[in-house]
Amino acid sequence: MGNEVAILGVGMHPWGKWGRNFVEYGIEASQAALGDAGVGWDDIGFVAGADTIRNGYPGFIAGSTFSQALGWKGNRVASCYAACASGAHAIGIARAQILAGLCDVALVVGADTTPKGFFAPVGGDRPDDPDWLRFRLLGATNPTYFALYARRRMEMFGATEADFAKVREKNGRHGLSNPNARYHKAFSVDDILGSAMVADPLRLLEICATSDGAAAIVLSSMDYARRRTTDPVQVAAISTVTPTYPESVIEMPNFATDSGAVAAAPPRPFRDAIAAAAYEEAGLGPDDLDLAEVYDLSSALELDWYENIGLCKEGEAERLLNDGETTIGGRIPVNPSGGLSCFGEAIPAQAIAQVCELTWHLRGQAGERQVEGARVGLTVNQGLFGHGSSVIVKR
């Protein structure tokens, strides 16, 4: 203990396909977070930016880009890229600055503007880049990998396409009243099973879209926060672990797993290890959770996460879902925000948005989707190239 920092303020720019410059979204989210925190831009000593890879130089150097946009004032900055996990890594950088006593208040921000369609690798001929080669040699898109995991659940645990559709149905319901979500539509299981097959067994409505959006958080030392509020929401843990060799699950954008021929299997597979590191740091466990925001890149992947974060044993996720335990009002609501199903992914903002959502629930400010009495929540996600991300917040 003693490694907590306070979440003073959170803010988002609604997700959508707005077609504007990502910096504008970042400004709106930052202004919202500063307003929510009750601090001014002048109070921010450090800015951590989560990089977008799609918006050229200014995107790659998000810390200074957002600082310039908000008005240069000589604060310190950092920029980081960890694919889908970028936001959590940026929060981790800001936390370290605060815990080291180098600043009192920090702003974390991530924003993205996305093109339509499948994620494609950066252009040009790059035959040494596995992310380029997997498209050229295999035609393996991101949904290809999601589908391999989904089919594996069906083969190993008897999961059905209807189970996957029920995840999507739940998240559609959860997101209906979320003002920051992009999609506000409830789909029936039949609607979902009637949508086009994209990567068998996953259908169009079960694969997350790409969106524009931004999220920001104002973090401070506990001392600073306690001068302003009596019971701040706290960051209890941030896990940014990599896999441990040999990784036995095939991961984007790889052609093969590591070899387990001579090296002993790690104590936990990667996705289990991400949350385990957060639990260990927080001194908490799955039984302490009141809610979770998990990365439903596909409907089926949400079920994997139930097991990876310890909500149930391997092979039991479908039962948890079908018993209503992960619905708002159930024992452990998952993705009360509506998840990526309702947001689509704005990569550098998404892990920050997950923490914003938990913060609103812990403060009792989540409106119709409120998880009553929430005191502890966990986010989890995984970024391309071996980037883990899990944040535990508590009150």
């Binding site: 498209f135 393996a140 594996r152 083969e155 068998d200 040999p246 790889n254 070899s259 001579v262």
Partner: protein, 149 residues
């Protein structure tokens, strides 16, 4: 019909032996761990600092770990074989000796209806795409027991 020159779609990743093609990986001279694609510089096993690797042909047979059907045309640099696009299957295959899982397209003429977890498959060469003069070939996984197994 003219005969096009068969060339690998990528250099050095597999042998183009028409009878028994194989993926070419490496084995670390210090610790013996396998890698695919080839390791060329420093062993990824954290217990090892090996820098020398032997090129080895990987097992030509394995068992399906999972599989999918790509129903939509992937974006470039994927090069479609046909217009309109025809869906194709991809399998993740466990190699017993190397204890690793390797992806590959499923051989022409086979679909996900021919696959289940544990289905035995064999490495074959097949067309990835063609241009006026060349047929670009790549490794594919083919069910050993044939169709509908």
């Amino acid at each position: 019909m003219t005969t096009k020159t068969r060339v690998p779609a990528v250099e050095g990743w597999f042998t183009i032996d028409p009878e028994s093609p194989a993926l070419v990986g490496t084995r670390c001279r210090s610790c013996g761990t396998y890698a695919f694609p080839r390791e060329t510089y420093f062993c990824k096993n954290p217990e090892c600092t090996g820098r020398e690797f032997d090129e080895v042909e990987l097992s030509r047979r394995g068992k399906v770990w999972s599989f999918t059907n790509n129903c939509y045309q992937p974006p470039p640099p994927f090069v479609p074989r046909t217009d309109p696009f025809e869906p194709f299957a991809i399998a993740a295959v466990e190699l017993a000796e190397e204890r690793m899982v390797v992806l590959g397209q499923v051989a022409d003429g086979y679909s996900i209806d021919d696959l289940a977890a544990g289905t035995e498959v064999e490495l074959v060469l097949g067309t990835l795409y063609e241009d006026d003069d060349h047929e670009y070939v790549v490794w594919k996984w083919q069910p050993v027991a044939g169709k509908g197994a």
